[in-house]
Assembly symmetry: C2
Amino acid sequence: MTTYTIKFLPHNREIKVNDGESLIRAAMEAGVHINASCGGEGVCGKCRVIVETGEVEGGLSEQLSQADREKGFRLACRSTITENVVVRVPVESAIDISVLSQHYVPRRTASIRQMDLNDLKEQGLFLPPVEKVYIELPEPDNQDHLPDVTRLVSHLKLHHDEHHLTVSLPVIRKIPDALRKDAFRVTATLARPVMDSGKTEIINVQSGDTTNRNYAIAMDIGTTTVFGQLIDLKSGEVMSEHGQFNGQISYGEDVISRIVFAEKEGGLERLHKMVLETINTIIGKIVRRAKVDPDDIAAITLAGNTTMTQLLLQINPRYIRRSPYVPASTLYPPIRAVDIGLDLRDHVTALVYPAVSSYVGGDIVAGVMGWGMYLDDRLTLFMDIGTNAEIVIGNRDWLACAACSAGPALEGGGIKFGMRAAKGAIEDFSLDPVTWEPMLMTIGSVRPKGICGSGVIIMTAVMFELGLINNLGKFNRDLATDRIREDNGVWEYVLAWAGETQIGRDIAFTEIDIENLIRAKGAIYSGCMTLLTEVGMGMQDIDRIILAGGFGSYVDLEKAITIGLLPEIDADKVTFIGNSSLLGAKMSSLTNRIRKDVVEATRSMTNFELSETPSYMDNYVAALFLPHTDMNQFPRLKERLARRRQPS
Amino acid sequence: MTTYTIKFLPHNREIKVNDGESLIRAAMEAGVHINASCGGEGVCGKCRVIVETGEVEGGLSEQLSQADREKGFRLACRSTITENVVVRVPVESAIDISVLSQHYVPRRTASIRQMDLNDLKEQGLFLPPVEKVYIELPEPDNQDHLPDVTRLVSHLKLHHDEHHLTVSLPVIRKIPDALRKDAFRVTATLARPVMDSGKTEIINVQSGDTTNRNYAIAMDIGTTTVFGQLIDLKSGEVMSEHGQFNGQISYGEDVISRIVFAEKEGGLERLHKMVLETINTIIGKIVRRAKVDPDDIAAITLAGNTTMTQLLLQINPRYIRRSPYVPASTLYPPIRAVDIGLDLRDHVTALVYPAVSSYVGGDIVAGVMGWGMYLDDRLTLFMDIGTNAEIVIGNRDWLACAACSAGPALEGGGIKFGMRAAKGAIEDFSLDPVTWEPMLMTIGSVRPKGICGSGVIIMTAVMFELGLINNLGKFNRDLATDRIREDNGVWEYVLAWAGETQIGRDIAFTEIDIENLIRAKGAIYSGCMTLLTEVGMGMQDIDRIILAGGFGSYVDLEKAITIGLLPEIDADKVTFIGNSSLLGAKMSSLTNRIRKDVVEATRSMTNFELSETPSYMDNYVAALFLPHTDMNQFPRLKERLARRRQPS
């Protein structure tokens, strides 16, 4: 993709952006503040800039006079980059350069990586749990009356070194006709055991040579969304994928409300049916899109949290939400896919990811396994942050995990104007440290409707760093701005005035919102601290961080460190792996090595119930500050704040 | 039961019979001929005897004058024994004593024996494939969050030395509530693997201690009838049993016609459904009768011939009837009973008896195993005789088997007046060697309707021994009796005149009937010979004979030897084991030893396809005589015939 360079003046700061990027987003990315409160819809007219060299596309508006236009004035939010340009931020939108240069921290997002298929192939580990073998059997005659199944099994034993084979009834039913359809030339699909001592099962027999058509499905069953991928087991490539909302969502947004519903008369069956419908819809779509014959799909690997897994398997989850929070099972045997209602052929094996505990489920284990964290020497912090944050810390020698009940603040819940990350949600924010005027970016560049999770983190970080709020999250009430005000006894900062919004009311960010955020980040950070404390280590020992899930994809790392959600670590040591549950399910489809290892890995993973771990409460209380009571845990931030607060 | 002694004069022969026995049957049993052709209904009036000492009950008839009655005349067929009596057979019904004394051979029936439960217990082999274990688990608390399944499995491992345990999904579903219903005190039902290296599966978990309620079902799936038994696995006793016609019978009487029907559109599904209905009806009855909780039934063992097994398992049997006669499989893995439609709880394991070939099926294997033939040093001939006769010969070192297509003659099929063994069927027969008048016994003691299988054998043997037919089965046309006649070019012997029958026609036994019988017995005898020839042995090497199935229960051993169906052997070396298939199914429910052994036993059992074994045709041709071309194979009979044919 073509990229262009934009130089911002008077900051004298350059940034490269892709062709077609909006100018205001480029400024935000470069850390250049431009007053803006309409989210980029072009109605507030505050984001005036002067294009000094080159031309942008658009940016003209009735709010700009003809004279201004001729001077090069454009609205940054309506301007699109199509060539190299030099842009000046005029005085009325700009801020004191000396302050700005201190404020500027390069924007950091985690690098995206997925475990590599080529690595697996090189290591000889591209060993799917289901394999196809083509065989040509001798035909029976008057001297050879071997039963069909024996003929097949004996041949595999003698000529393919396959021992300890089993065949289930549905396959036995198919064998006689399959053998005779193409002169006793058939392809057998073999499902490998987890343990080498186990038995290999012949799960399908097809006429002729079908070895070049062997597929599996990987499925992540999230509380909110379900994602599926169809995988070619010959190449290892994803052939099609699809995701959609979990059909259970109308029975409750989080796992607890699902469990409550499941306890009602018929509730379990209902939730089971809803998630099945979702999964089966996804299966139908990815199979049709990839244009494969369903008879060539041999396995499905499913990963979900403990509650989603129990609901899928129709196991009552009632004890998950009752102390002492015991799941029914953490390990599941291979299951026939049709036995749990999956719309697949009756030979398909369903492999369900094992869990560690009621709140560290198969989705997390899938992430740990799929990424290979359990094989790595480096001390890794794996986090999947949502309403519940799951944390795994460890390396190849040990693994410890915990679930933190963070509350919904990080997803925009429990925030006065909080909303899901949807169109109109404020997702990015900058603040003029002199005028205290905001720069807002909304999803879809429309007038703001509310604030999503990433916006909440960024606002808190920016406000804290610039001193709009203190380390307790309280506003500096002495600042000369009418945006800070008291409303019904609660102090707040007005992000957008009623006329600039879609909702016709002032959108504000309140001290209660900040309190909720601090509690959420405190729960997570102290969870990590507790795991490390319990093994005699500290945050400084962490070699890298892996962020899983939707959260990891949008969070601004520096801001997350500034509020004390993540420990201070170099950006290149942070990796975002996206949907780790889906990744783990996919990797299990590609290598049986993971299935062999996961039993041991989950068994050796020490689970901490934080509410019952004495050190947790101390760590939690210490984390209820921005960024933390102990500023020495954030040395770079400490230095930056110290510099900022000394006049330059 | 009280027994009485009857002395017959002038034979001076005594016999002991049970209270209430009919006098004419006592005479038949004693080898005393009394003319009788109405089957015992009292209408022909021929069976007049004189009760000289004591009294019989009944026996009076309008056909006896008052004078005769006062002289002690009674109709033998209407007289019941209620005390010791002396009975004279009058001259008109009797025969020359000297001939009679030669003719007399004590009636021989096989001794009935079943494998002994106490033997199993003494040998420490009373080890059912499903066992119950009561356990008291520690309850979870804040220090102990073990998942429910792990808690159970770990406890069994630590405290009951149970390793390699697996738990299937339906059981996992039950575990959470079962544990909490009675303070984590539960009973686990364990299904043992066939091989020690295999895994033990926890198939059920019940609250509290239910170890004294552990049941299994044994089921014989015959082509004609299905029998089931409910077995108490604690005591080993049969608690209830029931049998009924196989519901498939309306789609064909034999396996071939069932296979033909199964090949039609929807035929397999139909036959599968019909036998399931029969089995489920039987299950329902035996469970209700024994008043057990279905949740306490843990296993069902099913034995049937190869076709019945494939129809039950819904495996198309089409290749069974096509050369080279290959079955789909001979071994089946344990199957969940509900997966094949059995009306049992979903934890129940169904164990299906393995077969050897298309025509030596699980029913025969069950007999061989259930009786313990495969463990015995003695050379044993095991026979299950019906339309198809299956033969197994061998001992603990080797086993050979074959199926003979005998045709239906031994069951009364292909016989001019042949019929099933039902009311009105001539089942026993005696002949006056001077007058050539018959003595007929019918089932139910009613006027004859036809001849059943046992009648056919007895008639042929008696006629041959007394010289009414020669060793080719042809009538001696010179005898002074109007009962031997030619009808439409076929010679026959009239058993009952039209007026004496239920059908209003003469009932006769024809030379074609005898030819059919000779072919049937020839096929079976030569089958045995062939197996022995192939291993370099002869009939004289056989140490004992085991007769299985309905045939064994009614056949007169001496008569079967006389026609050359069975080799000449002492009666005490012949054992009738009844429904051997049901016996084998039951024994497998009592000891896992059989399941371990059966795999090896079936594998080492050499199956001969007789039609493709060159020596078979020679043996067959030699056997198409009464009793055989080689009379030296029947030395006692040879001597008896020699004596008879020399005037005394």
